[in-house]
Symmetry: C2
Subunit: 383 residues, 2 copies
């Protein structure tokens, strides 16, 4: 069985994170990704620390296995190369500000008229419509404007960002879903579609309970530290040697937890239902910690685990990368250098799929313009 996107060619004009994250997933699913970079410095993330042997680990983690060609889309010579690539592309991805592709002559309308099967995927800060369509954005801008910072952190302190750039990453994942749906449908009707994803929209799409709370109560939620605002108990608790997580998301689990902690609370009307527990969450936390403070995290995680109650440690990233479950799932992979030696660690593919394979190494990330010769030869083979 071949990979699901075998034979699909992606012409990827995106840089930094949102777009390249999308094309990384599509590459992991079997697509050929040709990364078109601007001559000179290429993708900005080539300059993002940390570096190893002069190469950015950040760039490598997102761009492994892609091919790079440097093209100045304002130069006639390079436009000619680009226009030889276009007919062989199934998908074009771009993250310019709205209007840039049109000025280059490669806007959706023009391309769709010439190549009706081509799928056009765009990701931008604010999308291709609306009053702020042309404003620039990066992750921090949409994390701040999009609301997630207002519900992350501790009540009464300055807002914090989510430690990973979910402003980009979630947008890249929505772009990938849109492109995949368009590819699926193209197999049936032969026509390409335009997909337009805004980083700001994508932030709103993951606000979860926060929109429900705001719309029902009229009051936006505030950060709640390490606690879920709609479920209890569902937060961190102190053991004798530090913090660990208990997440008892329904009445059955709460009853099991009461048994495991020898705390007779499940018939108490203050704690009998999830809404009641949310109401009395501070008292509930103190009652649980009165018990958990007596033993270690490891003790409680083992004991609650054996009783079928979701619980676990709070791990730093080095611990996560060594976690036996993560290792068993091939979730940390080696990105090779151009000589085939392991150069960087990166995240593996979380989409485990029959017939896809799940290798623990990834081909090297490309040097800027490093595949020009190979790409031109491939085009010649296409005639």
């Amino acid at each position: 069985m071949t990979k699901p996107l075998a034979g699909i060619t992606i012409l990827d004009l995106t840089h930094v994170l949102a777009g390249p994250f999308c094309s990384m997933t599509l590459a992991d699913l079997g697509a050929r990704v040709i990364k078109v970079e601007r001559p000179g410095s290429g993708d900005d993330t080539r300059a993002f620390p940390p570096f190893s042997k002069g190469k950015s680990a950040y760039f490598a983690a997102i761009n492994h296995g892609k091919k790079s060609i440097a093209l100045d889309l304002k130069s006639d010579t390079d436009r000619a190369v680009f226009e030889r690539l276009l007919p062989h592309a199934d998908v074009i991805l771009e993250n310019y500000r709205p209007g840039v592709m049109e000025r280059l002559g490669y806007g959706w309308e023009d391309l769709h008229a010439m190549y009706p099967r081509l799928i056009y995927g765009a990701v931008s800060g604010f999308g291709h419509t609306g009053p702020d369509a042309k404003r620039p954005a990066y992750d921090m801008v949409v994390q701040g404007r999009g609301g997630v910072m207002s519900i992350t952190g501790e009540k009464g302190r300055e807002p914090v960002r989510v430690g990973a750039s979910i402003g980009d990453i979630v947008a890249g994942m929505y772009l990938s879903q849109g492109v995949l749906a368009a590819l699926m449908d193209r197999e049936r009707n032969g026509k390409g579609r335009k997909v337009d994803v805004a980083m700001l929209d994508a932030q709103l799409a993951i606000l979860e309970h926060a929109i429900a709370i705001t719309s029902v109560t009229g009051t936006p939620p505030v950060p709640t530290g390490a606690r879920h605002p709609s479920i209890a108990p569902f937060e961190t608790f102190h053991a004798s040697d530090g913090l660990f997580v208990i997440a008892a998301g329904n009445d059955v689990l709460f009853e099991k937890l009461c048994v495991a902690l020898n705390l007779p609370l499940s018939d108490d009307p203050r704690f009998a239902t999830n809404p009641a527990r949310v109401e009395n969450t501070r008292l509930l936390k103190r009652l649980i910690e009165a018990v958990t403070l007596d033993k270690t995290r490891a003790y409680w995680i083992a004991r609650l685990g054996a009783a079928g109650i979701p619980s676990g440690p709070i791990q730093d990233v080095a611990q996560v990368m060594r976690d036996p479950q993560i290792v068993a799932r091939n979730m940390v992979v080696d990105v090779l250098d151009r000589n085939g030696r392991p150069a960087f660690k990166a995240a593996g593919n979380p989409i485990k799929m029959s017939g896809l394979g799940d290798p623990t190494v990834r081909p090297a990330a490309p040097d800027l313009d490093g595949d020009r010769g190979e790409i031109l030869r491939w085009l010649e083979g296409k005639g």
Copy 2:
């Protein structure tokens, strides 16, 4: 042009958030989703606050437009109904612990043998393989174990969770991508695939720079509050009336920022390159704030915006829901009640796509077992 997933039927056995988030996206893309719930209480999120007229806004926000049938998959009568549904499904989704579907007789191997075109999508805490495959998990467990809490919050203080349940949401988005890729490929080769997504894997997949830093330096990163650890300036800054965001992600933007702030720093070797700026980020922040503290947030956001520098406010969720750009993009929609009246607000679809449409209302979320009659009549029509 029809919706890209028109004609696709999803048999959705998932509950709570990760799986239902996936099927919500597939429904937004045009699929028919039949939600199979356990008799009695149904999906746990029917009991999640807040409520309006006795209905959970949380449940409605994720399950609008799906059909509900209550089936006990251990009862012969209900199994017979389920087995009449199976031949008409393109995709089955489940989030049981590994082994449960096998014991019910509906594991991937059995279903694939009977229905080779059926796509089987599973999302679980830790995946279907590895030593912890059978452990239960909720969002908090994988946010803690998966590392994102270790990089979110303020250095030296207790870890905080990401304010939205990205442990579930990101896993649901990966499941959606896997299912869409399998649907696409099925159009070419006629065969279904199994997709196995673990919430823990999905958390690792979004750690971004943190894996690169850990693997290159040997030291896992710590939380950095509101600052990106690999890019500078890329954080919150104080204006005269509060905090706002500046995100100057490359040298050109930094130079523009220096001009806009009238701060001659771009030729200074301490700030001339992004790696140098990251190195000297505390000094850089103080220098920038020496200027920004003199005027309001609105002043700076307008001024920097006009100069093409990414910047913006930090909004609470009520402000986000009123944001003119969000409104213009139809990103807040009305979920109707069974009488067709607006009952709840929910996030719109961030995948804007030609031929898909972008309505500002959503059909009601189903009552438990509320569509049994309609589903049975539909089956009769199928003969």
